[in-house]
Amino acid sequence: MGLYLPVGPQHPIHPEATLIKLKVEGEHVVDADIDASFVHRGIEKALERKTYVQGLFLAERICGICNVAHTTCYTLNVEGLAGIEVPQRALWLRLIVEELARVSSHLLWLGLLAHVVGFESLFMLAFRDREVVLDLMEEITGGRVTSGYNVIGGVRRDIDAATAYKIKSSLAKLKERVVKYRRLLEEDPIVRARTVGVGYLSPSEARELLAVGPVARASGIAYDIRVNDPYLVHEEVPFNPVVYDTCDAWGRAMVRVGEILESIEMIVYALDHAPSGEIRARVPPIFRPPPGENVTRVEAPRGELLHYVRSDGSEKPYRYKVRTPTLANLPAAISMLKSRGDRVVHIADVPVIFGSIDPCICCTARVLVVNEKGAAKEFQLDELAAKRWAR
């Protein structure tokens, strides 16, 4: 007899309300369901009711963590649609801030991995070191997390020499720490025991289930929008995509930590090589792009992010579509969560696996009902609460 163990929607693994329904037998997971409709807000509809300039700030709040990826994508998309020329320096600055956000996001993820395997101290230390990046973000953009930096036509603030120096010295220190964490991931026996071989996703599965970002790259698929479809000045900034072929949670961790180091290099290079000049083209607060459509893709920290816009010539988008990386990775996650053959998934592995795709359901908000039979069981929290309701 299987026992349904709902994880969530309120659960420490995810502050955001997600529901993972697991069918467990003993300590093994035999089936998995994800119901994440709890955070659907209706942003795509709302974007149709905002002007292009207003929509930027809503797009920024599709997700706080990769807000920079969203604004980069949104601004490039709308600029492409309306034919707005962006000054070169602005593109370099966007790249710097985007990579900084990637560092922050991956460090956050490291902390969450630590939390997920119950490694309190690593969580604390990763978050402590992340503050360095957040301080830089606040200094550059004016917001620690949600940056409000990219605007249609360019960026809001320039980085002067003093700030650039500060960024470089802070990042140099951070780099030492990250190298340390990479060694820790490589060496710590418990972390290895908890992640190596967990959440196996073969390259062919990754391809079929349309995985993106670090999940795909840990399964040996060298797919990185920054290489495949350079959208800022990536052709001029040297970097190496990080690819592992261990196909497991450990590989995903290593990809992310490796990307932090790459991003730091990119930021330093960009700071040294960015051309000087204007940072913002003047764009009126309300404008009307010509009818047409545009697709833009950005490599967000979690993988490929796609924005599609269609204009009918008015000051508001006719249709704005967002496909977030977490949505693309959910089918892969579901498949990883199920025990199949000799690949056994323990309850304790679930957070590690689910965490390893770095899910941010808030932008995704989707349900995947794998097995409808579980629905009846799902209401056990109700039963618990029933007494309180009766009073």
Binding site: L5, I13, E27, E120, S121, L122, A193, I347, Q380
Partner: protein, 317 residues
């Protein structure tokens, strides 16, 4: 009569035990915080010293909820029994002088037996609540018990055998430190098993927050939770007290004649703090391992080592 009652309830009885237990919890939290480059509790009393007390009072003053579907009797009985069992066990351990509150020949074995009973109560506590999380937690606790119980027993028995006495006060009175040579192994086994017994990282499997919320504790609130937490703290006291008695020479230390009643409690606290520091250090530098990994670890390494240790200790003695 009054002196008796004072002894039983105030010093070195229950009140002292509770105070000491809360002190150790505070120490633990502060040490872990410090190891994580933080401050830890700070505003409740000087340096947060009263934080555990505040938690306790707050919990006692909360609304009492028995979830629907809980086994009412077990749900009420388990926390009380857990508290009583560990308190009785702690009464055997010399916490303030070289003698426990009560002391008898073979009390060491009684303490070990009580610890096992406590663990069984954890299982009933989990099983009594209707939540699936608690049930998974309870099953996990039972699984773990099979792994670390034997090493815990054997590491204690090894020391007792080599000391040739099964009376804790006698061991404490001798004041001999046994952390070198062969006994280093016993000490290490004891610390590991105690860490598991206390359900602390890396062995907090039965209440793994990320997987099953708070495990077997999930449905307990108010005074029940307070009692469980208190029981956990007293258990910390009990196990560090046991470690002090068995391995660190009890509360004995250099003292001018006549000052023992004053100095010995302080020595005890200092030594217990040392043990707690070791516990905290482990907690602060490890991740949680998985249940199956833990059981494998126990049976492959911990149990054989503890048998070897026990056999050697008996032979040497």
């Amino acid at each position: 009569m009054i002196a008796e009652a004072l002894r039983a309830f105030v010093y070195p009885g229950i009140a002292y035990m509770v105070a000491l237990a809360l002190l150790l919890e505070w120490l633990d939290r502060k040490i872990v915080a410090r190891l994580q480059n933080r401050v830890g509790p700070y505003y409740a009393g000087p340096h947060g010293l009263l934080q555990p007390l505040a938690d306790l009072i707050k919990l006692l003053a909360k609304e009492d909820v028995v979830p629907l579907g809980a086994d009412g009797i077990l749900f009420t009985l388990s926390p009380i029994a857990a508290f009583v069992v560990v308190t009785v066990a702690a009464a055997f351990v010399p916490l303030a002088s070289t003698s426990g509150l009560v002391s008898a020949e073979g009390d060491a074995v009684a303490v070990l037996a009580l610890i096992t009973i406590y663990l069984l109560l954890v299982y009933t506590a989990g099983a009594a609540s209707p939540s699936r999380y608690s049930q998974v937690g309870a099953v996990r606790a039972a699984h773990m018990l099979l792994g670390f119980e034997i090493p815990l027993m054997l590491s204690c028995l090894g020391v007792l055998a080599s000391a040739g006495s099964f009376r804790l006060s006698e061991l404490a009175a001798r004041g001999s430190v046994r952390v070198f040579g062969l006994h280093a192994v016993g000490f290490a086994i004891f610390l590991i098993a105690a860490q598991a017994e206390l359900e602390r990282l890396p062995f907090d499997i039965p209440e793994a927050e990320q997987e099953i919320v708070s495990g077997w504790l999930v449905e307990y609130s108010s005074w029940r939770l307070a009692l469980f937490r208190l029981a956990r703290d007293i258990e910390l006291l009990l196990l560090s007290g046991l470690a002090v008695t068995l391995f660190l020479g009890g509360p004995v230390g250099p003292s001018p004649p006549g000052a023992e009643p004053l100095l010995y409690p302080l020595y005890f606290i200092a030594k217990a703090a040392l043990i707690v520091f070791l516990f905290s250090l482990v907690r602060a530098s490890t991740a949680r391992i998985r249940l199956d990994q833990f059981v494998t670890f126990c049976w492959r390494y911990l149990v054989p080592t503890s048998f070897a240790y026990f056999a050697l200790a008996v032979l040497v003695a």
